[in-house]
Amino acid sequence: MSTTHVLLGLLTEGPKHGYELKRIHDRWLPRARPLAFGQVYATLGRLQRDGLVETAGKERDGGPDRTHYALTSAGRDALDTWLGSVETPAPRITSTLLAKVVVAVMTADVERARDYLIAQRQAHIARLRELTAVKADPAAALGDVIAADFAIAHLDADLRWLQTTLDRVTDWHREVHP
Protein backbone atom coordinates (compact mmCIF):
# COMPACT_ATOMS: atom_id res chain seq x y z
CA MET A 1 0.00 0.00 0.00
CA SER A 2 1.25 3.50 -0.76
CA THR A 3 1.31 5.35 2.56
CA THR A 4 2.59 8.40 0.69
CA HIS A 5 -0.51 8.69 -1.45
CA VAL A 6 -2.91 7.81 1.35
CA LEU A 7 -1.47 10.68 3.40
CA LEU A 8 -1.79 13.01 0.43
CA GLY A 9 -5.41 11.92 0.15
CA LEU A 10 -6.07 12.64 3.82
CA LEU A 11 -4.68 16.16 3.38
CA THR A 12 -7.22 17.03 0.67
CA GLU A 13 -9.69 17.91 3.42
CA GLY A 14 -7.33 20.59 4.73
CA PRO A 15 -4.08 20.95 6.72
CA LYS A 16 -3.47 18.42 9.47
CA HIS A 17 -0.72 17.51 11.88
CA GLY A 18 0.94 14.11 12.09
CA TYR A 19 -1.12 12.77 14.96
CA GLU A 20 -4.39 13.65 13.23
CA LEU A 21 -3.21 11.97 10.04
CA LYS A 22 -2.41 8.77 11.90
CA ARG A 23 -5.77 8.81 13.66
CA ILE A 24 -7.76 9.37 10.47
CA HIS A 25 -5.69 6.80 8.57
CA ASP A 26 -6.41 4.13 11.18
CA ARG A 27 -10.12 5.01 11.08
CA TRP A 28 -10.35 4.99 7.26
CA LEU A 29 -8.35 1.81 6.88
CA PRO A 30 -9.19 -0.10 10.04
CA ARG A 31 -8.09 -3.46 8.68
CA ALA A 32 -4.75 -2.19 7.44
CA ARG A 33 -1.71 -2.32 9.65
CA PRO A 34 -1.89 0.76 11.93
CA LEU A 35 0.54 3.50 10.94
CA ALA A 36 3.44 4.05 13.29
CA PHE A 37 4.01 7.68 14.31
CA GLY A 38 7.58 7.43 13.09
CA GLN A 39 6.37 6.35 9.67
CA VAL A 40 3.94 9.27 9.46
CA TYR A 41 6.60 11.85 10.28
CA ALA A 42 9.22 10.23 8.05
CA THR A 43 6.75 10.19 5.15
CA LEU A 44 5.73 13.81 5.76
CA GLY A 45 9.43 14.75 5.78
CA ARG A 46 9.92 13.12 2.38
CA LEU A 47 6.76 14.69 0.99
CA GLN A 48 7.93 18.12 2.15
CA ARG A 49 11.37 17.58 0.64
CA ASP A 50 9.74 16.67 -2.67
CA GLY A 51 7.47 19.71 -2.59
CA LEU A 52 4.25 17.69 -2.31
CA VAL A 53 3.30 19.12 1.10
CA GLU A 54 4.27 22.27 2.96
CA THR A 55 4.06 23.39 6.55
CA ALA A 56 1.00 25.42 7.39
CA GLY A 57 1.59 26.72 10.89
CA LYS A 58 2.06 25.23 14.31
CA GLU A 59 -0.40 24.48 17.08
CA ARG A 60 0.36 24.22 20.79
CA ASP A 61 -2.33 22.62 22.89
CA GLY A 62 -0.75 22.23 26.30
CA GLY A 63 1.91 19.94 24.82
CA PRO A 64 4.66 20.07 22.27
CA ASP A 65 4.29 22.08 19.08
CA ARG A 66 2.34 20.33 16.36
CA THR A 67 3.19 21.23 12.82
CA HIS A 68 0.32 21.34 10.36
CA TYR A 69 0.97 20.13 6.85
CA ALA A 70 -0.94 21.17 3.74
CA LEU A 71 -1.11 19.75 0.25
CA THR A 72 0.71 21.74 -2.45
CA SER A 73 -0.53 21.88 -6.03
CA ALA A 74 2.24 19.43 -6.96
CA GLY A 75 0.98 17.15 -4.18
CA ARG A 76 -2.55 17.34 -5.56
CA ASP A 77 -1.23 16.51 -9.05
CA ALA A 78 0.67 13.51 -7.64
CA LEU A 79 -2.48 12.31 -5.87
CA ASP A 80 -4.59 12.74 -9.03
CA THR A 81 -2.06 10.78 -11.06
CA TRP A 82 -2.08 7.96 -8.49
CA LEU A 83 -5.87 7.84 -8.30
CA GLY A 84 -6.10 7.85 -12.10
CA SER A 85 -3.67 4.98 -12.65
CA VAL A 86 -5.09 1.48 -12.88
CA GLU A 87 -3.65 -1.07 -10.48
CA THR A 88 -2.21 -4.15 -12.14
CA PRO A 89 -4.74 -6.90 -11.39
CA ALA A 90 -2.93 -8.90 -8.73
CA PRO A 91 -2.74 -12.56 -9.67
CA ARG A 92 -1.66 -13.42 -6.10
CA ILE A 93 0.58 -16.15 -7.48
CA THR A 94 3.03 -15.54 -4.68
CA SER A 95 0.43 -16.50 -2.07
CA THR A 96 1.63 -18.73 0.75
CA LEU A 97 -1.75 -20.48 0.58
CA LEU A 98 -1.13 -21.41 -3.05
CA ALA A 99 2.38 -22.62 -2.30
CA LYS A 100 1.20 -24.74 0.62
CA VAL A 101 -1.66 -26.34 -1.27
CA VAL A 102 0.55 -27.11 -4.26
CA VAL A 103 3.20 -28.67 -2.00
CA ALA A 104 0.55 -30.57 -0.05
CA VAL A 105 -1.08 -32.11 -3.10
CA MET A 106 2.14 -32.73 -5.00
CA THR A 107 3.75 -34.68 -2.18
CA ALA A 108 1.16 -37.38 -3.00
CA ASP A 109 0.47 -37.81 0.70
CA VAL A 110 -3.28 -37.75 0.23
CA GLU A 111 -4.19 -37.99 3.91
CA ARG A 112 -1.92 -35.15 4.86
CA ALA A 113 -3.10 -32.94 2.01
CA ARG A 114 -6.69 -33.69 2.98
CA ASP A 115 -6.15 -32.83 6.64
CA TYR A 116 -4.44 -29.61 5.71
CA LEU A 117 -7.19 -28.58 3.30
CA ILE A 118 -9.94 -29.36 5.81
CA ALA A 119 -8.22 -27.30 8.49
CA GLN A 120 -7.56 -24.46 6.05
CA ARG A 121 -11.17 -24.43 4.91
CA GLN A 122 -12.40 -24.30 8.50
CA ALA A 123 -10.05 -21.42 9.28
CA HIS A 124 -11.26 -19.54 6.22
CA ILE A 125 -14.90 -20.08 7.14
CA ALA A 126 -14.34 -19.01 10.75
CA ARG A 127 -12.68 -15.80 9.53
CA LEU A 128 -15.44 -15.22 6.99
CA ARG A 129 -18.00 -15.55 9.77
CA GLU A 130 -16.14 -13.09 12.01
CA LEU A 131 -15.92 -10.54 9.22
CA THR A 132 -19.60 -11.01 8.37
CA ALA A 133 -20.44 -10.17 11.98
CA VAL A 134 -18.33 -7.00 11.71
CA LYS A 135 -20.15 -6.04 8.54
CA ALA A 136 -23.63 -6.88 9.81
CA ASP A 137 -23.26 -4.75 12.92
CA PRO A 138 -25.62 -1.79 12.35
CA ALA A 139 -23.11 0.45 14.15
CA ALA A 140 -20.22 -0.53 11.82
CA ALA A 141 -18.39 2.38 10.21
CA LEU A 142 -18.29 2.52 6.41
CA GLY A 143 -14.52 1.96 6.46
CA ASP A 144 -15.00 -1.24 8.46
CA VAL A 145 -17.70 -2.49 6.09
CA ILE A 146 -15.67 -1.78 2.96
CA ALA A 147 -12.59 -3.45 4.45
CA ALA A 148 -14.66 -6.47 5.56
CA ASP A 149 -16.21 -6.72 2.06
CA PHE A 150 -12.74 -6.80 0.56
CA ALA A 151 -11.52 -9.52 2.90
CA ILE A 152 -14.72 -11.58 2.55
CA ALA A 153 -14.59 -11.50 -1.25
CA HIS A 154 -11.01 -12.80 -1.17
CA LEU A 155 -11.81 -15.50 1.40
CA ASP A 156 -14.76 -16.59 -0.72
CA ALA A 157 -12.50 -16.79 -3.77
CA ASP A 158 -9.96 -18.84 -1.79
CA LEU A 159 -12.72 -21.21 -0.67
CA ARG A 160 -13.94 -21.75 -4.20
CA TRP A 161 -10.39 -22.33 -5.38
CA LEU A 162 -9.77 -24.83 -2.56
CA GLN A 163 -12.87 -26.72 -3.67
CA THR A 164 -11.88 -26.70 -7.34
CA THR A 165 -8.39 -27.87 -6.43
CA LEU A 166 -9.81 -30.74 -4.42
CA ASP A 167 -12.08 -31.73 -7.30
CA ARG A 168 -9.11 -31.69 -9.66
CA VAL A 169 -6.96 -33.72 -7.27
CA THR A 170 -9.77 -36.22 -6.80
CA ASP A 171 -10.21 -36.60 -10.56
CA TRP A 172 -6.48 -36.99 -10.97
CA HIS A 173 -6.31 -39.67 -8.28
CA ARG A 174 -9.21 -41.51 -9.89
CA GLU A 175 -7.31 -41.60 -13.16
CA VAL A 176 -4.00 -42.59 -11.62
CA HIS A 177 -5.44 -45.06 -9.06
CA PRO A 178 -8.64 -46.33 -10.67
Partner: protein
Protein backbone atom coordinates in the same frame (compact mmCIF):
# COMPACT_ATOMS: atom_id res chain seq x y z
CA UNK B 1 -31.83 -27.97 23.44
CA UNK B 2 -32.32 -29.86 20.20
CA UNK B 3 -35.16 -28.25 18.35
CA UNK B 4 -35.11 -30.00 15.04
CA UNK B 5 -33.69 -33.39 14.34
CA UNK B 6 -33.29 -35.56 11.27
CA UNK B 7 -32.25 -39.18 11.67
CA UNK B 8 -31.24 -41.23 8.67
CA UNK B 9 -33.50 -39.27 6.35
CA UNK B 10 -33.80 -40.79 2.88
CA UNK B 11 -35.75 -39.27 0.01
CA UNK B 12 -35.80 -40.09 -3.68
CA UNK B 13 -37.64 -38.67 -6.66
CA UNK B 14 -38.52 -41.79 -8.60
CA UNK B 15 -35.24 -43.64 -9.14
CA UNK B 16 -33.15 -40.55 -8.35
CA UNK B 17 -31.91 -40.37 -4.76
CA UNK B 18 -31.92 -36.88 -3.25
CA UNK B 19 -31.11 -37.68 0.39
CA UNK B 20 -29.29 -40.90 1.27
CA UNK B 21 -29.41 -40.95 5.07
CA UNK B 22 -29.03 -37.50 6.59
CA UNK B 23 -28.71 -37.11 10.34
CA UNK B 24 -28.46 -33.70 11.97
CA UNK B 25 -29.63 -31.68 14.94
CA UNK B 26 -30.49 -28.00 15.11
CA UNK B 27 -30.50 -26.24 18.48
CA UNK B 28 -33.05 -23.71 19.67
CA UNK B 29 -32.19 -20.23 18.42
CA UNK B 30 -29.42 -21.53 16.17
CA UNK B 31 -28.90 -20.26 12.65
CA UNK B 32 -27.77 -23.25 10.59
CA UNK B 33 -26.60 -22.91 7.01
CA UNK B 34 -27.04 -25.92 4.74
CA UNK B 35 -24.68 -25.55 1.81
CA UNK B 36 -23.46 -27.64 -1.08
CA UNK B 37 -23.45 -27.68 -4.86
CA UNK B 38 -26.58 -27.72 -7.02
CA UNK B 39 -28.45 -30.98 -6.80
CA UNK B 40 -26.82 -32.06 -3.52
CA UNK B 41 -30.20 -32.39 -1.80
CA UNK B 42 -30.19 -29.29 0.38
CA UNK B 43 -33.62 -28.03 -0.70
CA UNK B 44 -35.05 -31.52 -0.29
CA UNK B 45 -33.62 -31.62 3.23
CA UNK B 46 -35.26 -28.28 4.03
CA UNK B 47 -38.58 -29.53 2.68
CA UNK B 48 -38.34 -32.67 4.82
CA UNK B 49 -37.41 -30.70 7.95
CA UNK B 50 -40.29 -28.29 7.35
CA UNK B 51 -42.78 -31.12 6.88
CA UNK B 52 -43.48 -30.16 3.27
CA UNK B 53 -42.14 -33.52 2.08
CA UNK B 54 -42.40 -36.80 3.90
CA UNK B 55 -39.13 -38.80 3.87
CA UNK B 56 -39.12 -42.28 2.33
CA UNK B 57 -37.20 -43.50 5.38
CA UNK B 58 -35.80 -42.04 8.56
CA UNK B 59 -37.31 -39.65 11.09
CA UNK B 60 -37.84 -35.92 11.43
CA UNK B 61 -38.59 -34.55 14.90
CA UNK B 62 -39.53 -31.10 16.07
CA UNK B 63 -39.23 -30.33 19.79
CA UNK B 64 -38.92 -34.01 20.54
CA UNK B 65 -42.01 -35.09 18.58
CA UNK B 66 -41.90 -36.87 15.26
CA UNK B 67 -43.52 -34.87 12.50
CA UNK B 68 -42.87 -37.15 9.53
CA UNK B 69 -45.52 -39.57 10.73
CA UNK B 70 -48.20 -36.90 11.02
CA UNK B 71 -50.93 -36.41 8.42
CA UNK B 72 -50.60 -33.79 5.71
CA UNK B 73 -53.23 -31.70 7.51
CA UNK B 74 -51.32 -31.84 10.79
CA UNK B 75 -48.04 -30.94 9.12
CA UNK B 76 -49.74 -28.13 7.25
CA UNK B 77 -51.07 -26.79 10.53
CA UNK B 78 -47.59 -26.95 12.03
CA UNK B 79 -46.27 -24.90 9.13
CA UNK B 80 -48.93 -22.27 9.80
CA UNK B 81 -48.36 -22.09 13.54
CA UNK B 82 -44.72 -22.85 14.24
CA UNK B 83 -42.80 -22.58 10.99
CA UNK B 84 -42.10 -19.69 8.65
CA UNK B 85 -40.95 -20.39 5.12
CA UNK B 86 -39.12 -18.10 2.73
CA UNK B 87 -38.18 -19.12 -0.79
CA UNK B 88 -35.82 -17.61 -3.35
CA UNK B 89 -38.63 -15.89 -5.19
CA UNK B 90 -40.93 -14.55 -2.50
CA UNK B 91 -43.97 -16.23 -4.03
CA UNK B 92 -46.22 -13.38 -3.06
CA UNK B 93 -49.74 -13.54 -4.44
CA UNK B 94 -49.62 -11.19 -7.41
CA UNK B 95 -53.20 -9.97 -7.06
CA UNK B 96 -52.85 -8.98 -3.42
CA UNK B 97 -51.15 -5.96 -1.88
CA UNK B 98 -48.10 -6.38 0.34
CA UNK B 99 -50.21 -5.95 3.47
CA UNK B 100 -52.78 -8.47 2.22
CA UNK B 101 -50.01 -10.97 1.45
CA UNK B 102 -48.56 -10.61 4.92
CA UNK B 103 -51.94 -10.96 6.62
CA UNK B 104 -52.66 -14.26 4.82
CA UNK B 105 -50.94 -16.64 7.29
CA UNK B 106 -52.66 -14.92 10.19
CA UNK B 107 -56.08 -15.09 8.55
CA UNK B 108 -55.52 -18.78 7.83
CA UNK B 109 -54.64 -19.25 11.50
CA UNK B 110 -57.92 -17.60 12.51
CA UNK B 111 -56.72 -14.15 13.53
CA UNK B 112 -59.26 -11.35 13.04
CA UNK B 113 -58.85 -9.17 9.97
CA UNK B 114 -58.13 -5.93 11.83
CA UNK B 115 -55.58 -7.50 14.14
CA UNK B 116 -53.95 -9.30 11.22
CA UNK B 117 -53.59 -6.07 9.24
CA UNK B 118 -52.10 -4.31 12.23
CA UNK B 119 -49.51 -7.07 12.69
CA UNK B 120 -48.77 -7.10 8.97
CA UNK B 121 -48.13 -3.35 8.93
CA UNK B 122 -45.87 -3.69 11.96
CA UNK B 123 -43.77 -6.41 10.28
CA UNK B 124 -43.60 -4.54 6.99
CA UNK B 125 -42.31 -1.60 9.01
CA UNK B 126 -39.68 -3.74 10.76
CA UNK B 127 -38.45 -4.88 7.37
CA UNK B 128 -38.31 -1.31 6.11
CA UNK B 129 -41.09 -1.56 3.52
CA UNK B 130 -44.02 0.00 5.38
CA UNK B 131 -44.57 2.46 2.55
CA UNK B 132 -45.30 -0.45 0.19
CA UNK B 133 -48.20 -1.82 2.24
CA UNK B 134 -50.73 -1.03 -0.47
CA UNK B 135 -48.50 -1.90 -3.44
CA UNK B 136 -48.77 -5.10 -5.40
CA UNK B 137 -45.73 -7.34 -6.05
CA UNK B 138 -45.54 -6.27 -9.69
CA UNK B 139 -44.88 -2.72 -8.54
CA UNK B 140 -41.94 -3.70 -6.33
CA UNK B 141 -38.26 -4.48 -6.91
CA UNK B 142 -36.94 -7.97 -6.16
CA UNK B 143 -35.47 -6.81 -2.86
CA UNK B 144 -38.74 -5.19 -1.81
CA UNK B 145 -40.65 -8.36 -2.68
CA UNK B 146 -38.25 -10.45 -0.58
CA UNK B 147 -38.66 -8.07 2.35
CA UNK B 148 -42.44 -8.45 2.08
CA UNK B 149 -42.04 -12.23 1.85
CA UNK B 150 -39.82 -12.10 4.95
CA UNK B 151 -42.51 -10.08 6.74
CA UNK B 152 -45.02 -12.77 5.78
CA UNK B 153 -42.67 -15.46 7.11
CA UNK B 154 -42.17 -13.63 10.40
CA UNK B 155 -45.71 -12.39 10.98
CA UNK B 156 -46.83 -15.56 12.74
CA UNK B 157 -43.73 -15.26 14.96
CA UNK B 158 -42.57 -18.74 13.98
CA UNK B 159 -40.26 -20.75 16.18
CA UNK B 160 -38.38 -21.97 13.11
CA UNK B 161 -37.73 -20.09 9.88
CA UNK B 162 -36.85 -22.15 6.82
CA UNK B 163 -35.18 -20.06 4.15
CA UNK B 164 -34.27 -21.56 0.78
CA UNK B 165 -31.78 -19.35 -1.11
CA UNK B 166 -33.68 -16.33 0.24
CA UNK B 167 -31.43 -13.83 -1.49
CA UNK B 168 -30.38 -15.94 -4.48
CA UNK B 169 -32.15 -13.66 -6.93
CA UNK B 170 -30.91 -10.38 -5.48
CA UNK B 171 -27.85 -8.28 -6.22
CA UNK B 172 -25.01 -8.29 -3.69
CA UNK B 173 -25.90 -5.17 -1.75
CA UNK B 174 -29.63 -5.88 -1.63
CA UNK B 175 -28.89 -9.47 -0.62
CA UNK B 176 -26.71 -8.21 2.21
CA UNK B 177 -29.40 -5.82 3.43
CA UNK B 178 -32.14 -8.46 3.36
CA UNK B 179 -29.93 -11.07 5.04
CA UNK B 180 -28.81 -8.59 7.67
CA UNK B 181 -32.45 -7.85 8.48
CA UNK B 182 -33.42 -11.52 8.51
CA UNK B 183 -30.63 -12.49 10.87
CA UNK B 184 -31.16 -9.52 13.16
CA UNK B 185 -34.90 -10.22 13.43
CA UNK B 186 -34.30 -13.94 13.97
CA UNK B 187 -31.91 -13.19 16.81
CA UNK B 188 -34.31 -10.68 18.35
CA UNK B 189 -37.17 -13.18 18.15
CA UNK B 190 -34.94 -16.09 19.16
CA UNK B 191 -36.08 -17.84 16.01
CA UNK B 192 -34.25 -20.98 14.90
CA UNK B 193 -33.24 -20.67 11.25
CA UNK B 194 -32.39 -23.27 8.62
CA UNK B 195 -30.80 -21.38 5.76
CA UNK B 196 -30.18 -23.19 2.49
CA UNK B 197 -27.59 -21.56 0.28
CA UNK B 198 -24.86 -22.39 -2.22
CA UNK B 199 -23.04 -19.18 -1.37
CA UNK B 200 -20.27 -19.14 1.27
CA UNK B 201 -20.83 -15.43 1.86
CA UNK B 202 -24.47 -16.06 2.74
CA UNK B 203 -23.47 -18.98 4.96
CA UNK B 204 -21.19 -16.54 6.78
CA UNK B 205 -24.29 -15.14 8.50
CA UNK B 206 -25.02 -18.49 10.16
CA UNK B 207 -23.71 -19.85 13.45
CA UNK B 208 -22.83 -23.19 11.90
CA UNK B 209 -22.70 -24.79 8.49
CA UNK B 210 -23.25 -28.28 7.22
CA UNK B 211 -22.27 -29.27 3.71
CA UNK B 212 -24.35 -31.71 1.69
CA UNK B 213 -22.91 -33.61 -1.20
CA UNK B 214 -24.71 -36.28 -3.19
CA UNK B 215 -27.43 -36.51 -0.57
CA UNK B 216 -25.09 -37.02 2.37
CA UNK B 217 -23.55 -34.73 4.94
CA UNK B 218 -19.95 -34.16 4.00
CA UNK B 219 -18.06 -33.94 7.28
CA UNK B 220 -15.00 -32.50 5.64
CA UNK B 221 -16.90 -29.73 3.92
CA UNK B 222 -14.77 -30.26 0.84
CA UNK B 223 -16.43 -33.21 -0.80
CA UNK B 224 -13.15 -34.98 -0.30
CA UNK B 225 -12.95 -38.41 -1.66
CA UNK B 226 -10.46 -41.08 -0.99
CA UNK B 227 -8.45 -42.44 -3.90
CA UNK B 228 -10.99 -45.24 -4.13
CA UNK B 229 -13.61 -42.62 -4.87
CA UNK B 230 -15.59 -42.97 -1.66
CA UNK B 231 -16.44 -40.02 0.51
CA UNK B 232 -14.04 -39.37 3.34
CA UNK B 233 -15.79 -39.79 6.67
Amino acid sequence: MTYLQARGVVKAYGQTPALRGVTLEVSEGEILAVTGPSGCGKSTLLHCLAGILRPDAGEVSYRGQRIDTRSEAARSKLRRTDFGILFQFGQLVAELTAAENVTLPLLLAGTGRREARSAALSWLDRLGVAELADSRPGEMSGGQQQRCAAARAFVTEPRVLFADEPTGALDTLTSEQVLGQLVRLAREQHTTVVLVTHDAQVAGYADREIVLRDGLIDQTGLGLTTPSGRHAR
